[in-house]
């Protein structure tokens, strides 16, 4: 059996964070850890090496783009694919988020039945 894909999900909104983790775990082959802030997510990276990171854009304190900037300062995570999660659906905003170095953007509200599929599709496209 192949190794599970390790995912770190960072979102300050507890309801959404929990439903996202539950949704991703429905995949059956994802190992998911979560954090409630950018700083908490960075601290978790000291003990957990994810294959992909999902970051909410709008978080108090350190927002998604600022968290990504900090992640990229760590050589071991310089190339870890990051996907932004955002309620801002307008195309020019999504393009701006991608310009920060994310491989994709998932729009909230997301469908809990297809979140893992969306993530895998973005990661496959990024690898292609």
């Amino acid at each position: 059996m192949s190794e599970p894909l390790k995912v770190l999900y960072v979102d300050d909104e507890p309801d959404i964070r929990e439903v996202a983790v539950m949704s991703l775990e429905l995949d059956g082959a994802l190992e998911v850890r979560s954090a409630g802030s950018g700083r908490e997510g960075l601290a978790l990276l000291d003990q957990f090496t994810p294959d992909a990171i999902m970051l909410d854009v709008m978080m108090p304190g350190m927002d998604g783009p600022a968290t990504l900037e900090e992640i990229r300062k760590r050589p071991e995570h310089a190339d870890t694919p990051v996907v932004f999660i955002t309620a801002r659906a307008q195309a020019h905003e999504q393009a701006r988020f991608l310009s920060f170095g994310a491989v994709g953007v998932i729009t909230k509200p997301f469908d809990p039945m297809t979140l893992a599929v969306e993530l895998r599709a973005i990661l496959s496209k990024a690898r292609a």
Binding site: I16, T86, A87, P109
Partner: protein, 92 residues
Amino acid sequence: MSDAGDRFQALRERFLDRSAGDLDTLRHERDPAALRLVVHRLAGAAGTFGYPDISRDAGEVDDALVEGKDPPEDVLARLISGLEALIDLRGG
């Protein structure tokens, strides 16, 4: 109901509890930053819990606030009445 279904239902209940607490902010708060915290949360979360109309209306108010405009009163009113209806429906 499956374990995942039970968990999802519990999270939806918690979301509605929090949203009931946000109604006062939606009704009375006119500080754009404070109002935005609430509508942004609703825009991002409500659709995931099965309430796409709430997400859409909250998103419209969020968009207006981001652009520095006043929240559209008709949309805000519809958002409030939609949330009230949801909360009434479950007897909250």
